[in-house]
Amino acid sequence: MGERAPNQVEAGVWVVVLGELSVFTLFFTTFLYYRALSIDLFHASSATLSQTLGLLNTLILLGSSWFVATAVNALREVDRRRRALPHLAGALCCGAAFVAVKVFEYGRAFREGVNVLTDEFYMFYFMLTGIHLLHLVVGMALLGAMALHLRSALATDAEVSETLVGFSSCFWHMLDLVWIILFPLLYLLH
């Protein structure tokens, strides 16, 4: 891969990821502020969430991050590049599983008559997990683009775009990080 270090990505990738993290930090701070104002309500509503499903999604995302990391690792050496494809497929399956669990969780809440307007806790629960889910779908699209790009690069023996690989993988790890903060904030603090 030329003279550049394998994981070297344009500094801009980090700028965008840090920008995203700053926006989520703003959301978390707002959540903690409102939580402090009506702590009993937040405790009571938070207790109704399924910690099992939350934990399941945490494990799924950690697994997906492992797949992404091993895929990027495989890309470091030209003759191992082919191995990155099944790892990317694994990460995409984890992403799809996360979405499925989330849809099941939302569906159950709706059937129990709980929605985004029920109280302040549920407003944050649905908005924050919804915004995270939206980002996750974008992240899956990026991983998919990376897989397609890699497949055509393998077919023509061309170089793999470091910016695409760097951005997609960093973005995915960021999604994992955000969920690892969201999970205790929403599911465990009560």
């Binding site: 920008g19 926006v23 703003l26 707002t30």
Partner: protein, 245 residues
């Protein structure tokens, strides 16, 4: 000078017009918060979406002539966005080269923003126009005004992303604007996005009077606009310098 940048042809006369057009944008960024926000007191503090019809009617009645003057001032100033976005589009064309799609997106988004902000202001003006009408109708106009102002974030987000995309795609040497302005634009787009949820809430940070739907997007828009003003003036200066060489 790199070959990717088209030859500059900004003569001194055009340079003055471009400068004046950039300063027109300041009319919007100062006139809207000052007229609508402070004189018409829509930001001092913003009326809550959970306010009763009587409270909304009282707000409009107490606003009196000053509120109408503030709205008139804001309505007169919003158009200032258009000349500035023309200069922005012109500079974006230098960044993008021969087929500038982001520059065109940018101009369309700026035009629609002027249209929607004007529409919101007209709804508020209609409420103030007959402040003695049925309070529930006043509340309806107030709702329409706020929702028109806060919720159509889509074109603001695309606008900021288009500017960011053009700046980041600039491969000229020297670049028309620094790359961090491109990243700032994308970050501003992210921070402006939560406004769409104001349709749902009567309280809290995502409601039209809340931190995430109103204050942060308003603040980041002003920061973005000031940055663009500074760097547009710089780009015009540098372009004129190049053509004089």
């Amino acid at each position: 000078m790199s070959t990717t940048q088209p030859a500059s042809n900004l003569c001194p006369r055009q340079r003055s017009s471009h400068r004046i057009a950039v300063w027109c944008g300041t009319l919007f960024t100062i006139g809207l918060p000052l007229g609508w926000g402070i004189l018409a007191s829509f930001l001092l503090p913003p009326i809550s979406p959970s306010a009763t019809p009587q409270e909304v009617a009282a707000f409009v009645t107490e606003g009196g002539i000053l509120q109408k003057l503030g709205l008139m001032m804001a309505l007169a100033c919003v158009g200032g966005l258009l000349p500035m976005s023309a200069v922005l589009g012109d500079q974006m064309r230098r960044m993008e080269g021969a087929r500038p799609i982001w520059a065109q997106t940018q101009l369309a988004c700026a035009t629609l923003t002027v249209w929607l902000v004007s529409a919101a202001l007209v709804f508020f003006a209609a409420a103030a126009f007959r402040a003695d009408r049925n309070p529930e109708l006043i509340q309806l106009l107030n709702d329409l005004g706020w929702l028109t102002f806060i919720t159509p974030v889509s074109m603001i987000v695309f606008w900021m992303c288009a500017v960011g995309a053009a700046i980041l795609s600039d491969r000229g040497e020297p670049s028309v604007m620094p790359r961090w302005v491109g990243y700032l634009s994308i970050w501003a787009a992210l921070l402006s996005a939560p406004g769409f949820a104001a349709v749902l809430f009567h309280n809290g940070p995502f409601a039209w009077s809340g931190l995430l739907a109103l204050w942060i997007p308003l603040l980041i828009f002003i920061v973005w606009w000031i940055t663009l003003t500074v760097y547009l003036l710089k780009a015009i200066r540098e372009e004129a310098g190049i053509s004089e060489r």
